[in-house]
């Protein structure tokens, strides 16, 4: 037992040493100036770094972070969205000369696995942790530990609203609600005439891979609310049916019987492509469906898979169903180029990854940082080549 206590104290001391910014990666001996009994310093980040703060880490990285190591934990590796984020992280790390270690669970649903990884990352005592949390609540305890140990955390992709004060230094995330609305804003005008001229109710389908994570649900609700708002502005009534969560949490669920526009929300039992495809094909198969929205890469690809059989998607509202997607990847990009998919909203995972490392380095250098909101950009076949869009379209 004695040994364990000693080990704990030693590691605490080590953390303190590292944070004090002496930059020494030697794990062997705690620096003499950090007495073993010193409590993990909560105020450590406030301490001035011994090393001179780098002026612009982005511009002059090599000098800045030579010895820093960061742990980056993504939500999963399932979609190329995360591949792009990891690429961004690695690029920036190389540029700044810092060490990063990227991990992530196999699936976004493996919450417990991610908590284990986070705990592990904390135990490895890095200079900072970049976290894309699968769940807003599951990480709170670990964040408290990180805070106690003085390890700064930067959230990316998704924020953690209830995080203990001071644990999360900055959040690099997209406003998902707004991004979902962006999709509606771009899809609605294309369908506007058809909705206006329709004699019977028309249907808009939405496929969400789940109804639990903040990012997916916000996008889904953002789309629903915006679409409903635009339709009502044109004097149409809207009803939302399908998955209970989305129906109950949208602004106005309306009445299916009397509605002109029905938004149907489908959520598969698990976040796999084949189940998303099954759900999507049911909606695509309905005669009154005119539009579809898939709120992330898996869901959007599910819609495209379903269309392989049905062949109802296209860009002409008169003869086909228009589908909007989310995120990029070769499948979605290909579908947009070939006119199967009307368009999609992309975030900038590459930039998000880069920014995360940049901010972590800044924190380690003792600079103050603030949240960096990233955006969702609408893209379709017309603007895919634009300079503002193209860099965000990863494979």
């Amino acid at each position: 037992m004695k040994k364990k206590v000693l080990a704990t104290l030693l590691s605490a001391a080590m953390v303190a040493t590292l944070i004090a910014g002496c930059g020494s990666q030697e794990a062997a001996a705690p620096a003499p100036e950090a007495p073993a009994e010193e409590a993990p310093a909560e105020e450590a980040p406030a301490d001035d770094a011994a090393e001179a703060p780098a002026e612009e880490p982005a511009a002059d990285g090599a000098a800045a972070g030579g010895d820093y190591s960061f742990e980056i934990i993504v939500k999963s590796y399932q979609s190329s969205y995360w591949q792009a984020a990891v690429t961004g992280v690695n690029q920036k790390a190389e540029e700044l000369g810092v060490k990063v270690n990227c991990t992530g669970p196999n699936a976004e649903s493996d919450i417990a696995d991610q908590v284990n990884m986070l705990n592990n990352a904390i135990n490895a005592a890095p200079n900072g942790i970049g976290l894309a949390a699968c769940d807003q609540d599951a990480c709170l305890d670990s964040l408290q530990t990180a805070l106690d140990k003085g390890i700064p955390v930067v959230c990316f992709d998704s924020g953690i609203p209830d995080a203990p004060d001071g644990s999360v230094y900055a959040t690099v995330a997209t406003d998902n609600y707004a991004a979902g609305a962006t999709a509606a804003e771009n899809l609605y005008p294309a369908l506007k005439d058809k909705i206006a001229s329709a004699t019977a109710p028309v249907r808009i389908g939405e496929v969400n891979q789940e109804a639990t994570s903040e990012s997916i649900t916000s996008r889904g609700l953002g789309f629903i609310d915006k679409f409903a708002e635009l339709a009502s502005a044109d004097g149409k009534t809207v009803a939302v049916i399908g998955n209970e969560y989305y129906v109950n949490n949208c602004k106005d669920k309306g009445d299916e019987a009397s509605a002109d526009v029905i938004i149907e929300v489908a959520v598969p039992a698990q976040t796999t492509v084949e189940l998303c495809a099954t759900e999507a094909s049911v909606i695509l198969n309905k005669a009154d469906t005119i539009g579809m929205f898939g709120s992330n890469q898996v869901a959007a690809e599910g819609i495209l898979t379903a269309n392989e059989n049905l062949d109802v998607l296209g860009t002409d509202p008169a003869s086909s169903i228009l589908a909007a997607g989310f995120d990029a990847g070769s499948v979605i990009k290909g579908a947009i180029t070939s006119g199967k998919m009307f368009g999609a909203v992309t975030q900038s995972p590459l930039a998000m990854g880069q920014t995360t490392v940049e901010i972590l380095t800044k924190i380690a250098n003792g600079e103050t940082v603030s949240d960096v909101p990233t955006q969702g950009y609408w893209y379709d076949s017309t603007n895919m080549e634009d300079n503002s869009i193209a860099p965000n379209l990863y494979d």
Binding site: S76, Y77, Q78, S79, S80, W82, Q83, G104, P105, N106, A107, D110, G242, N243, E244, A266, V267, P268, A269, T272, V273, E274, L275, A277, T278, E279, S281, V282, N285, K286, A287, Q297, V298, E301, L304, T305, A306, E308, N309, L310, D311, G329, S330, V331, G334, A335, S338
Partner: protein, 326 residues
Amino acid sequence: MGKNKSVISRLGGQKFIVLLVVIGLILFFSAVSPDFRKYTTVMSILDYSYYIALMAIGVTFPLITGGVDLSIGTGLICYSLTGGFLIVQKGWPVWAGILVTLLLSITIGLLNGVLVSVMDLPPFLATLCTCMITRGLGSIFSKGFGISWPTSGAPGSWFRNIFKITVNGTKIPLGFLWVLLLVVLMAFVLNHTKIGRYTIAIGSNKEATILSGINVRFYHIMAYVISGFFAGLAAIAYSAVFSTVQPGTGAGFELEAIGGAIIGGVSASGGFGSIEGSLIGVFVICLLKTGLPYIGLQANWQQIITGLVLISAVMVDIMKRKKETA
């Protein structure tokens, strides 16, 4: 009673009952949902059925030997990820990727066979281990990332046409033809070749089969190799039908295939079963998965109902047998 029974058993006993269940489900869904009656729906169901059906054909062999193969689900994903990784990331030609996929599947099948037959491990455990191993290997091969095999229209997407071609704007479910052909082929193998005969013999009485001077080791291994190989075929079907293969998935596919086989009349204790039966059993599961959304049920209700139908399908059989023996 006596006559009725003989008619049913001549038609294949449980197989026949399960076929009725399939027809019943189709009629029910068509009656309730007009969308279900569309040709495109048939296409979706078939698309969805290929990989489960292929796995079920393969896994019927280990099941008949009295074993089981739990590694086919995660194996499928592992093989598909490996092949896809080589094609997409390493720029290999598609045929080479497919070849590697199949070779890997045969290797894992061989490994299962050796563990079970030579090292004498309980099949359930041996394949549980390879299930974990393939799940890990798949992610490692693909470096943890999801892989999209070439999409339709893209160069190298010819393999998708194996399962579905478009003639004059109509999609033809070619894959179903292959599945049927494979069912006929494997039914022949099971009933009319040495491999099949000895597979049944091992499941019936392994000791006696050894004493008959048969190289039981070889044929026992073959059962698992067949199962592995069909998981490989299923991997190609899965990659051809669905866009992205995600690492970490696949656990659970094997339960659908094995469940289908057992519903289709394969004896859980070995020695008895048929390929046709397994195929019919698989369709019960596929119909439930693809049909229930059409009657407006949310995914969660679908799961509950699938569970209940599974139990009842087996219970009907148990009650029938109880009546017969009484």
